[in-house]
């Protein structure tokens, strides 16, 4: 596989949003068919997201050399919403509902490109957490920078809620995994 013009490959970063949305949709629909339980599907989506997140974080850091290690969850929330979501999904969710202890916050997603054409099927399908991949990706990415978080959707417009709200809860700092010789 010799690709002569690597440079061109790099620039071809943009595919149409429709193709992406349709691909994700087809993919979710397929695993919904393949698994018996919706819970299992949600789990798989989360896992896939996780695997994406652990890779994507390096892409993000490589391209944003000004982003350093976060020492505060507010900083993390900010980078996540204003830069992470912006870069990879083209949206900037708002950060709200901070817990009093400052260890938990919500991201309100407006105009999620993943769900543009989606309506959940009746029955089992109503339990599907269609965007679960995003949760997995956040969890995976933050784990690679030594932050263990829990991530879930508490409201979903697909299920008739008023908003799509993603809740991120800080669990602990993974001190053991901290690379030595960090400043």
């Amino acid at each position: 596989m010799s690709r002569t013009n690597v440079k061109q490959n790099l620039d071809a970063r943009r595919v149409t949003q429709e193709l992406f949305t349709l691909t994700y949709g087809a993919f979710v629909a397929q695993i919904l068919n393949d698994y018996e339980h919706v819970d299992e599907v949600n789990k798989q989506l989360d896992k896939i997201g996780y695997n994406i997140g652990v890779r994507l974080i390096d892409d993000f850091l490589a391209r944003n050399p000004n982003v350093g290690r976060c020492h505060d969850l507010r900083e993390t929330a900010d980078v996540l919403a204003k830069q992470g979501f912006k870069t990879y999904l083209g949206i900037s969710p708002s950060i709200t509902n901070w817990s009093p202890a400052g260890d938990e916050f919500s991201l309100l997603l407006d105009g999620n490109p993943l769900t543009e054409f989606v309506e959940l099927p009746e029955g089992q399908g109503q339990k599907l957490s269609y965007n679960q991949m995003i949760c997995g990706a956040i969890r995976g990415a933050l784990e690679m920078v030594q932050l263990e978080v829990e991530c879930r959707f508490v409201q979903d417009q697909l299920k008739g809620d008023n908003a799509t709200e993603l809740r991120v809860k800080f669990l602990k700092k993974l001190e053991d995994a901290l690379p030595v010789g960090e400043d």
Partner: protein, 235 residues
């Protein structure tokens, strides 16, 4: 200005990528008559010059071939068909092979043509050096007189410089250059981008495992070439 080589070390100190971009070939062949005025010593990788430096042959150089026949570690076999140079240490002693040091101390074998030179690092040595650097990097913070020091970013010797960039996720990108090469930090940043593109985004690449991806190697080599020619790793 030269970039000698480039390495990627994972978070547990394992070498997951290495590329030799430009390693000067240091080899010298000369014919000698008895007695040989070098003090030779058996080493892990063959017979080394321990003392007696002359005509460009320096202490630390290894005997690479005798009378045109490549040596096999500390031994030489003139009857065996010359095997292709192997990356790994060969310490084969067969019935027809001679111990190099005793062969060279026998006056009947002279005159003899010996090729001396610096041996290349084999893959095993590279692994050892990578994990050595991994721990040296950590010790540099432990011995810092100043608070919150990072590990080694730049190491200088009279012949080469080593630059290291560690990502927040703990991957180390290391480049070896000559002492005059500038802008190596930009090269390391660039290789981080290439790593995130051609290794991490490749769905068949597993994290922390050796990077086999041909496109990664290709683009890293391009970046090194560019840095040498234009002073910047970017087109």
């Amino acid at each position: 200005m030269v970039v000698h080589s480039f390495y990627v070390i994972n978070r547990s100190g394992g070498l997951i990528f290495s590329d030799e971009h430009f390693i000067p070939k240091i080899e010298l062949e000369k014919t000698f008559s008895y007695p040989l005025d070098f003090v030779l010593k058996q080493g892990q990788k063959g017979v080394n010059v321990e003392f007696g430096q002359r005509d460009g042959i320096k202490v630390g150089h290894t005997i690479l071939s005798i009378n045109g026949v490549p040596v096999q570690g500390n031994f030489i076999d003139f009857s065996a068909p010359s095997t292709t140079a192997n990356d790994d240490d060969q310490q084969i002693s067969t019935s027809t092979s001679h111990d190099i040091i005793s062969y060279l101390s026998d006056s009947t074998n002279y005159p003899v043509t010996i090729k001396f030179g610096r041996t290349r690092l084999n893959s095993n040595e590279k692994l050892i050096l990578a994990s050595m650097f991994h721990s040296m990097y950590a010790i540099a913070c432990q011995l810092s007189p100043e608070l919150n020091s990072s590990g080694i970013r730049e190491l200088e010797t009279d012949q080469f410089k080593l630059y290291c960039f560690q990502s927040i996720t703990g991957i180390k990108f290391v480049a070896l250059t000559d002492t005059r090469q500038a802008n190596v930090d930009a090269l390391l940043k660039r290789t981080y981008e290439l790593y995130s593109d051609y290794a991490l985004k490749n769905p068949f690449y597993s994290i922390d495992q050796p990077i086999w991806c041909p496109l990664f190697r290709q683009t890293v080599q391009q970046a090194m070439d560019l840095l040498e020619k234009t002073g910047s790793p970017y087109t």
